[in-house]
Assembly symmetry: C2
């Protein structure tokens, strides 16, 4: 649908802020990077190699889970976390919209100046 900046694309994105905020912490960004490059991992596995406690990692995982970036499945006595790509795609699409609007604004401005 190639409308020219529909209102719903300009004004209605409260959910995106939460997604960006979820990746706005370096520990959570590292967790996502860790999860996107391999199999789902347990909490203790994800805690290994960091300097913070398991409970802190757990909190970060719950934040990621609340925004939908990560899903948790209980397997035996461990909770295995895996990435869900759909919110990432939503963020990509949002950034594409913003960049596209910016490019169009620049084109209009350039056309106005050169006119």
């Amino acid at each position: 649908m190639s409308r020219s900046i529909p209102s719903h694309a300009r004004n209605k994105q409260p959910a995106h802020a939460a997604l960006f905020a979820a990746l706005g912490d370096k520990t959570r960004l590292a967790l996502v990077a860790r999860l996107c490059s391999g199999e789902p991992a347990s909490i203790t596995q994800l805690t290994a190699g960091t300097r913070i406690t398991r409970q802190a990692i757990t909190k970060h995982l719950r934040v990621l889970e609340r925004t939908g970036l990560v899903r948790c499945v209980r397997a035996g006595r461990e909770s295995r976390f895996g990435l869900d790509p759909r919110p990432l795609h939503a963020m990509q699409q949002y950034l594409d919209v913003v960049s596209h609007q910016w490019d169009q604004a620049l084109a209009r401005l350039k056309a106005f100046v050169e006119d």
Copy 2:
């Protein structure tokens, strides 16, 4: 136990977290959306239409400026803020990398999600 995680994949890109965090606030996200669709605007112009004070908007603009998403030029007695698309492109590239890594591991992860 030996970690099979390459350290470069876990400890990379510290700057991206600040970019995501800058867009993690709904007011700042709205400011970016506002700026990407037109010419640079002054602080009072950007404050108009919001329910928060000019000083709060100023703080948000300084945060965006610190991360490089926005640039400020003093014009007479007003400060005009405009978008800088380069950090946005950096975020797009980062998300592209994550998505690409995701696609490479899709087979295993698909089995996990559908289980």
